[in-house]
């Protein structure tokens, strides 16, 4: 009843090809953006920012990045953790070497550095395909972590090998360092996520995105119709790594403020981001958000519910949390094998007709 498209006529091609063709969706989207930018920053406290929203936003960026590579271009990557580390260490080196440089550009430049590294490790994708490609990215994962751990130049020769984010501001507002207010942390990440997801959305439905998808669906066929696989695969690696690098820079500079490479950017991180996009939905922007939400917010929620709400011992709660997350993944799968994004689509289809059966 409420959700319908009757009377929603398009008179131009432009209208017809917009991201949210249904008026209701569009309004819901505008409302969500308005709430995210105009309401949430004012009601945000430290807990909500540091434990819930900032990690969610950052993981969303990483998930979009990986989704471009894996979901849109069909190249499996297990190197996300390593590429995030590149972003983080690039940000650290830039922040300490050029203290005057605005943090916004530091983050973007870190993404750029990561894009370069990503292309380098993407080269084997021209020869190795499918699941075997994961080995190239895994090599990147382990080698990069080892490198950052081993070469003291990367952590400015500090005794412990940890890197710390110094305080940086934008327009006089602190966005990194320990005294950052919750709202500025949140707004900074949200702004970057907003810009990047806008870019990603438009890239994926433009020419570049279509060549990616052609490669994903069948690379030989794509080659025959004139898609250059070298260009398509490497641009996918570059763009994806850029996103992941930005996520890594934010993860270090804004979210944690101090990281150690082996703990923060290990192989577990690569798997986590991969799980996000698989559970959310491969090749779907919404899926990236949904997957990040599922694996970041659900554990926090479950923990609060089990420990805070029901008063369980923390260890039992932690174990149950794992069991519930695992069981939910399986239940979702059986209900809808193509991830949360597909579940959402089905739900919308049903909503369109509701309350009439046909």
């Amino acid at each position: 009843m409420i959700y319908r498209e009757a009377g929603d006529f398009k008179t131009t091609y432009r209208d017809d090809s917009q991201t949210f063709p249904i008026r209701f969706d569009r309004r819901a989207y505008y409302a969500l953006v308005a709430v995210a930018f105009l309401v949430l920053p004012f009601v945000m406290n430290d807990y909500w920012a540091s434990a819930v929203f900032v990690p969610f936003l950052i993981y969303s960026i990483a998930a979009i990045g990986l989704n471009i590579l894996t979901g849109y271009c069909g190249q499996v990557s297990l190197g996300t953790g390593g590429f995030m580390a590149v972003g983080a260490y690039a940000a650290y080196k830039l922040m300490t070497a050029f203290p005057e440089l605005n943090i916004f550009f530091v983050v973007l430049l870190s993404g750029g550095v990561t894009a370069g590294v990503g292309v380098l490790f993407g080269l084997p994708s021209l020869r190795i395909k499918g699941f075997y490609l994961a080995v190239a990215t895994l090599a990147a994962q382990f080698f990069l972590v080892w490198l950052f751990n081993k070469v003291p130049w990367f952590y400015n020769y500090s005794a412990s090998g940890q890197i710390n984010a110094p305080e940086r501001t934008i327009f006089g507002i602190i966005v990194t360092g320990p005294s950052t207010p919750a709202w500025s942390k949140y707004l900074f990440c949200l702004t970057i996520l907003f810009i990047l997801s806008w870019v990603a959305r438009n890239l994926t439905r433009g020419e570049v995105g279509r060549t990616w998808m052609a490669i994903r669906d069948m690379d030989i066929a794509a080659e025959i119709i004139g898609v250059n696989p070298l260009k398509a695969k490497l641009t996918a690696f570059a763009v994806s790594s850029f996103f992941v690098g930005v996520a890594g820079a934010l993860f270090f500079a804004v979210y944690l403020g101090a990281v150690e490479v082996t703990e923060a950017f290990g192989i577990q991180k690569s798997f986590l981001v991969l799980f996000m996009i698989i559970i959310g939905g491969l090749g779907s922007m919404f899926g990236s958000f949904a997957g990040a939400a599922f694996l970041v917010l659900l554990p926090v929620f479950l923990k609060n519910a089990l420990v805070g709400g029901l008063g369980w011992p923390t260890d039992l709660a932690a174990h149950l949390e794992l069991m519930i997350v695992g069981a939910l993944i399986i239940v979702f799968l059986i209900a809808e094998p193509h991830g949360i994004a597909a579940l959402w689509r089905t739900a919308k289809e049903k909503l369109r007709l509701w309350p009439f059966p046909h």
Partner: protein
């Protein structure tokens, strides 16, 4: 003989032994991948779960003790019995079969005919679940695993090589035992798949799902069968690694050691898993021995992947993988 060469020989031998242990883990992945096209992410957690169950049974631990105590305020921990190693291993193998049946019933049955990525995802969920479940069931402390496997330096090899070369080689007796067990396991598996009815059915399914179904092979039975075998392989791997370090959470991370082996040997080949394991084992140990000291050591983790990567650039389907035929 020059000393360095002797050292290199010793490192190579130890690398081969380590390779066998990697192969054991990789074998579980290959079995399931071959029969059902699933990359079973939960294999490492299955090894942990199997080892936990084995120790729990042997020591007569009460399963879910902590949960029971927390809910009902009781104080139960042990049944007070001890089961000898062999029956306990058989019982654990039984548990793994039951586990396979449950997995088939609750998960695989509902996902017939889905794409590999979706089945992969189901095993992610399974891994999460089993990790929590194993901890709730048996607790997360380190348990000593003692099934009577020999451990420590092999005196015979030490003496013999000392008499030959003037330098005694170090070989861990546990590694020798692991090699024997792995050999027995592979031979049994080969015999089983070559000569038994179920084994032939298994190979038929691996060859062509549709064709196998059309001649009346029950896919469900096959799935239960391979998951049971994979569970038992996981148990063996869990016992071997658990004997080294005690049974604890980190056992689930041994799956990471199997990844480069799989990449190198191919996902679908049992000999591939063995040879891949040996190459990785020797390669990483020799590299650490020869180059490691110059660049600061701890190179083993990434070197395994770089090695696999170099191989793959020349053979994109892995050493023994099925040839990739691409058609438009």
């Amino acid at each position: 003989m020059p000393e360095q060469l002797l050292f290199a020989m010793e490192v190579t031998l130890n690398g081969l032994m380590a390779g066998v242990l990697y192969s054991l883990v990789a074998l579980g992945f290959v079995l399931i991948y071959k029969a059902s096209g699933i990359f079973n992410y939960a294999q490492g957690v299955m090894a942990l779960f199997a080892a936990l169950t084995l120790v729990g049974l042997m020591d007569g631990q009460v399963p879910f003790a902590h949960l029971i105590n927390a809910t009902f305020g009781t104080d139960v921990h042990h049944f007070g019995w001890h089961i000898p190693a062999l029956p306990a291993i058989l019982l654990t193998a039984g548990v793994m079969v039951v586990f396979a049946i449950i997995v088939e019933r609750l998960i695989l049955r509902h996902l017939v005919n889905q794409e590999p990525i979706i089945l992969f995802m189901a095993t992610i969920g399974l891994a999460y679940f089993l990790e929590g479940f194993g901890d709730v069931m048996w607790g997360s402390d380190i348990k000593k695993l003692d099934v009577g496997l020999p451990q420590g330096i092999s005196e015979t090899i030490d003496t013999v090589t000392y008499n030959w070369f003037g330098y005694g080689f170090f070989i861990d007796r546990l590694d020798i035992a692991a090699t024997l067990v792995a050999a027995i396991l592979v031979v049994t598996l080969t015999l089983f798949s070559q000569y038994s009815k179920q084994g032939r059915a298994l190979r038929a399914v691996a060859d062509d799902h549709q064709a196998a179904l059309s001649v009346g092979i029950s896919l469900r039975f096959i799935w239960v069968l391979v998951w049971s075998i994979a569970g038992i392989v996981a148990l063996v791997a869990g016992v071997m690694w658990g004997a080294k370090s005690g049974v604890q959470f980190s056992l689930s991370l041994i799956a990471l050691k199997a990844l480069p082996v799989l990449m190198l040997g191919g996902f679908t080949s049992i000999p591939g898993a063995i040879v891949g394991g040996l190459i990785i084992g020797v390669g990483e140990k020799l590299f650490e021995f020869a180059v490691g000291p110059m660049i600061g050591g701890a190179t083993e983790n990434w070197f395994a992947y770089v090695l696999a990567l170099v191989f793959l650039v020349f053979r994109p389907q892995g050493l023994f993988g099925e040839r990739i035929i691409e058609r438009v």
